[in-house]
Symmetry: C2
Subunit: 152 residues, 2 copies
């Protein structure tokens, strides 16, 4: 099903995803669905290729689906589900991740509001960070839109 090179790539992509906090099984499923020659794979193809149990496969797929990393399609006269990567959403996921970080500014503002006013330098450093996050929170969506315009 997979060449040795492909297997290695699945592992490598898996590690990339594990570094994001996903479990090995989910991480490998995402890897497989990027690397496999077939874009759409069935439950059992995934299970067999990755040597997972049914439960692990089921859970991994459902987690990936809930995370909007995977979807499935069905075909007339076939009751299998065909799972595939939602690669088109990845750039939104990336941007969402960025924007989530920027929204930390709220928390740091709250910190500032409750801090003693004695520690001028430290408070200033926090304020600078808040400003930075707010700046990024405004500029990143612009950047995203610019890219969208450029590519359509």
């Amino acid at each position: 099903m997979l060449s040795n090179e492909q297997k290695q790539l699945v592992e490598k992509i898996g590690l990339m995803h594990e570094s994001e906090g996903l479990s090995p099984a989910v991480a490998r499923v995402l890897g497989l669905l990027l690397v496999s020659d077939k874009v759409e794979l069935t439950f059992d193809e995934i299970r067999e290729t990755l040597n997972l149990s049914k439960s692990a496969t089921s859970n991994a797929l459902n987690i990936a689906i809930k995370l909007d990393r995977v979807e499935y399609v069905t075909k007339p006269g076939d009751r299998k589900r065909y799972f595939k990567s939602r690669i088109e959403l990845w750039r939104e996921h990336i941007m969402d991740g960025f924007c989530k970080k920027c929204s930390w500014s709220k928390m740091f503002e709250e910190v500032l509001k409750h801090r003693t006013k004695e520690t001028k330098d430290f408070n200033k450093a926090i304020k600078d960070f808040v400003n930075f996050l707010e700046y990024m929170g405004k500029e990143l969506p612009k950047l995203y839109k610019e890219w969208e315009n450029k590519t359509k």
Copy 2:
């Protein structure tokens, strides 16, 4: 040592950090060092305020230091270490995180190189994503420099 409001804030900041993959103890230490009226706290002040064991405190501080989230200063004629948040580095940490994501483009290019050429649409979607990451990888440092210029 901490007001109730401050304690709650420490927990809230803690959760924020846990969502980044840090353990509760490290997460709370980082929270405490942002919220505490004193900017510099000793080992035992941290330990007592957070109700941690010595080992947990030691490990948490060393992890935070290795992550460049915390540093310590010493004072003449005093052998305690005074730990403090490296808040000034946070915006670099944020940018590093962003740039790390953008460097995923390499991995996806490798995927593309090994993929079958049959799946045109899917490969195109990957290529689009690679382009997007590369675009961000170029524009984000610019944005950062712009902000630096604006604020100095």
